[in-house]
Symmetry: C2
Subunit: 213 residues, 2 copies
């Protein structure tokens, strides 16, 4: 892991890791190639051996984010194979927790990359994988009969839009403070999901003041 001589060895990954750290501490505006390079222990132009430009580094950081998000969503699915209804809640909850754990990384994934017609294949591939996971989940829920009917693609977009929009409004402090005092984020999620499920989802957990996020 240490830098011995001229060559680093795993510089590309080191740069991505350093970038994620800086991003989460200082935000996208504070992320610079030179800082990333310094953190990885190389000179200021070394990153250009691995990334065409700053955009490409941000794309790689975003792709890594999608990889982590996919893992979180997957394990939420695995933990509730038997109960599609709870699975839906837990996947939504995992999405929200992922976003709140590292808001800057999450926001960058969805607003820092796509410009012009440049293509970042790994980026698009990982994002597609997550969406397919959601579509499968929706189909299960529809077969179980408690989710609204309609094209699974469109229902998936509904769910994704709903949770994605909600967490972004949350991160941008657009959800009123008063509301957040009365209700935990998880309860809000359940309210949101209840809106587009046929049968209501039970609020199984009593909301305690200490559990508020």
């Amino acid at each position: 892991m240490r830098r011995k001589n001229y060559h680093h060895g795993h510089l590309k990954n080191a740069l991505i890791s350093a970038g994620i750290e800086i991003l989460s501490k200082e935000g996208l505006a504070g992320l610079s190639i030179r800082k990333v390079a310094k953190k990885a222990g190389v000179s200021h132009a070394a990153p250009y051996a691995h990334f065409a430009d700053k955009q490409a580094l941000i794309a790689a950081i975003s792709a890594e984010g999608y990889r982590r998000l996919y893992d979180e969503l997957s394990s939420a699915v695995e933990s509730h194979r038997d109960n599609p209804q709870q699975m839906l809640v837990e996947v939504g909850w995992a999405y929200i927790q992922f976003a709140m754990k590292d808001p800057e990384h999450f926001k960058t994934m969805f607003s820092g990359v796509i410009e012009q017609e440049k293509d970042y294949p790994e980026f698009r591939e990982m994002s597609q994988k997550s969406f397919e996971l959601l579509v499968t989940l929706v189909r299960d829920c529809q077969e179980a009969g408690f989710l609204i009917s309609g094209s699974a693609d469109m229902v998936s977009i509904s769910l994704w839009s709903l949770v994605h929009g909600f967490v972004l409004l949350l991160l941008e402090s657009q959800i009123s403070h008063k509301l957040l005092e009365r209700m935990s984020v998880r309860t809000m999620l359940i309210f949101l999901l209840n809106g587009i499920t046929k049968k209501g989802i039970e609020v199984t957990e009593i909301e305690l003041p200490t559990s508020r996020v």
Copy 2:
């Protein structure tokens, strides 16, 4: 309107206008104080007489965005005072059109400003006004009996999250191309809204290939 002598006269507004133009053409990354100053015809440090730093300029640009968004939403409401159901659709549609007309400006409004504990009063005030417009609309729809029941605040957040998330995914090209070929954005909006209304919303307009957005 012209620059005659030393003093500009309406520099603050000129800077905001210039900023919006640059933002919409070159994106947030391409927005610099120096470019804005040049476009307004003043020296590179002149903006500092009106804005504490770049953040403050971006906040002002965002606040102006909220002002315009509020106008759009208001006139959508005014046009359909008699029919709450259609009003809901048209307000959502106005939101989407606003975002698609100037994506960079819209995205900046929701992801460029809030950092640390800084407060930009006009920014928050305009955003709150728009939300209150939505809450009023929701109450009307609930009284008309076709929107799901529950706290008007929470239902408003549901609707806002849904449409906001959807349009952001759209702008970030996260909605699959195949889907967009089969369905217009307006039809998708109606599908989304159908999910959380009691009675379905009629798709009154036949979707023609040429009307696809």
